[in-house]
């Protein structure tokens, strides 16, 4: 199959089907409704189930149910819908179930607007729901990468038995770009008979598998949290992913930016280069785990005078950037959050105006 021109939302849906996801529950919300539209049309043809829930709260628990049965399952939404699903997300994380959540971010808070935003960074990386849990958070910056991340999300969530969130913005969902679907997208499901409530007839053992998130005994609860922590520490160690751009040059400014915003930053880096100003860019592809070590090393270089977190939010990722830099270099935030994406020239002028 050659290249096809596809909307991000449709490509995410197609990638999930090709990855063997036959269970999809959702409730429509702009700017991601095309995922549900595509799934409604295509999933029944593949023998899968598309069900529109009566609300995102219901959808969250439909995902919980399917995941508990060991089924490959996905849902997609945007900020306000993810807020409603966050209780279920916490339950799913506690019960250690694999599932894929996609948030195509729109502006907030509140009902906000429907234009692109990155203001759900905290919600995704620090837990929108309650309790000590983490999501693996993947941030695509093109339609092709969104496809690849969906492909990666299912096996990752199964490997760690933890929900994975794909955090895209409205532009990633709405834009069309050429995409190529990898040939071998379907990844073998991991062994799930040890934990999935998928019927006693599926295994030889007489042991019942129980999926739950209520743990009243304090010692057991603490042990469970330690177990989760160990898992998150493993994820921190093994699953960090990022891209560097122009970082081999003696940059005075290091930009940290992700998703659509990082693409605009790349063009700004190119424009500044034409004027003889070297700026490096580090684009986290995983927001949890965050590329802390790489950012700390990059900021500690003698030529680096400032680290800039550029985001379509009022300064959320900047807190992780500050934490990573550990005072080795001044850290500043720049961003917009009304739905308008700052164009490359605006970033260029801003960077030229910095007092280094």
């Amino acid at each position: 199959m050659g290249k096809v021109l596809m909307k991000g939302n449709e490509a995410i849906a197609e990638a999930a089907i090709r990855a063997g996801c036959l269970n999809y529950f959702a409730y429509p919300i702009t700017p991601q409704s095309e995922v549900a539209e595509y799934m409604a049309r295509k999933l029944p043809e593949k023998g899968g189930v598309f069900l529109q829930g009566e609300s995102e709260i219901a959808v969250g628990y439909m995902v919980f149910g399917a995941a508990g049965c060991g089924e490959r399952v996905m849902t997609t939404s945007s900020g306000p819908g993810i807020s409603l699903m966050s209780e279920a997300l916490s339950f799913i994380a506690c019960a250690q179930l694999p599932a894929v959540f996609v948030n195509i971010m729109r502006t907030g808070p509140g009902l906000g607007g429907i234009l692109p935003s990155q203001a759900d960074y905290f919600q995704a990386t620090k837990g929108g729901g309650h309790g000590d849990y983490r999501l693996i958070v993947l941030a695509p910056s093109s339609v092709q990468e969104a496809v690849e991340m969906v492909m990666m999300a299912f096996p990752l969530s199964e490997k760690y038995r933890n929900p994975v969130m794909i955090l895209g913005d409205g532009l990633i969902g709405q834009m069309m770009e050429p995409v190529e679907f990898p040939e071998n997208l379907i990844v073998k499901p991991t062994r799930k008979n040890k934990w999935a409530a998928n019927g006693m007839d599926t295994r030889k053992s007489k042991k019942r598998n129980i999926v739950k998130s209520l743990i009243l005994d304090p010692e057991t609860m603490n042990t469970h949290n330690l177990l989760l922590k160990e898992k998150y520490d493993q994820i921190r160690k093994k699953e960090v992913r990022f891209e560097t751009y122009n970082m081999t040059k003696p940059y005075k400014v290091l930009i940290v930016s992700y998703g659509t915003m990082a693409r605009v930053c790349k063009t700004a880096v190119d424009l500044l280069k034409e004027e003889g100003i070297e700026v490096g860019l580090l684009r986290p592809k995983t927001l949890f785990p965050f590329p802390e070590k790489k950012i700390r090393e990059a900021a500690a270089k003698a030529h680096c005078k400032m680290v800039l977190s550029i985001e379509m939010s009022m300064g959320q990722m900047v807190e992780d950037v500050e934490r990573s830099v550990q005072g080795k270099c001044p850290v500043r935030w720049y961003g917009k959050c009304g739905g308008e994406i700052p164009p490359p020239k605006e970033l260029m002028e801003m960077i030229k105006g910095l007092k280094l």
Binding site: L5, L115, Q174, M175, E177, R263, V264
Partner: protein, 178 residues
Amino acid sequence: MQHEVMFAGFGGQGILSSGKILAHAAMEEGHQVVWIPSYGPEMRGGTAYCMVFISRKVINSPVVRNPLHLVAMNRPSLKKFAPLIKPKGIILINSSLIKIGSGRDDIEELRVPVNEIAKDLGDPKSANIVALAAFVARSNIVAFDNLLKSIEHEFINKNGALPLCMKAAEAGRKAGLP
């Protein structure tokens, strides 16, 4: 070099599909492309626009303040976007609906009565294809034959719309040639 083409008009004028067909043709020619729609809580009759980026190199920023070309299908979009167009760009004006000019002397202005041409062919809905074909004929942004292939790709499964679209493309080509 990177080209940015903005299509703008009312919802229902086929703005988004014009852009999609151009992006498809450029992709088939081996270019990098990005298609960005305006999306909002709008319906038929509301404003609609889309931006198509075409380049030999990887397209990083999908955001641009000053596009190179504009296809304006109604008066509000011409007034809003004409001042943003880069010098030496092309502004195609749908003269059936727009009686004013772009007010720019550093761009190439092309006036085409696309609604009338489409009406004479038998279906006013094909006005967007007339405009797209006229723009491609003037700009050579993709080979005209490749545009025809992408029109075919878009309309082949749409209830016999294809023959009329091909006629609209030919009429647009004639109107757009320098």
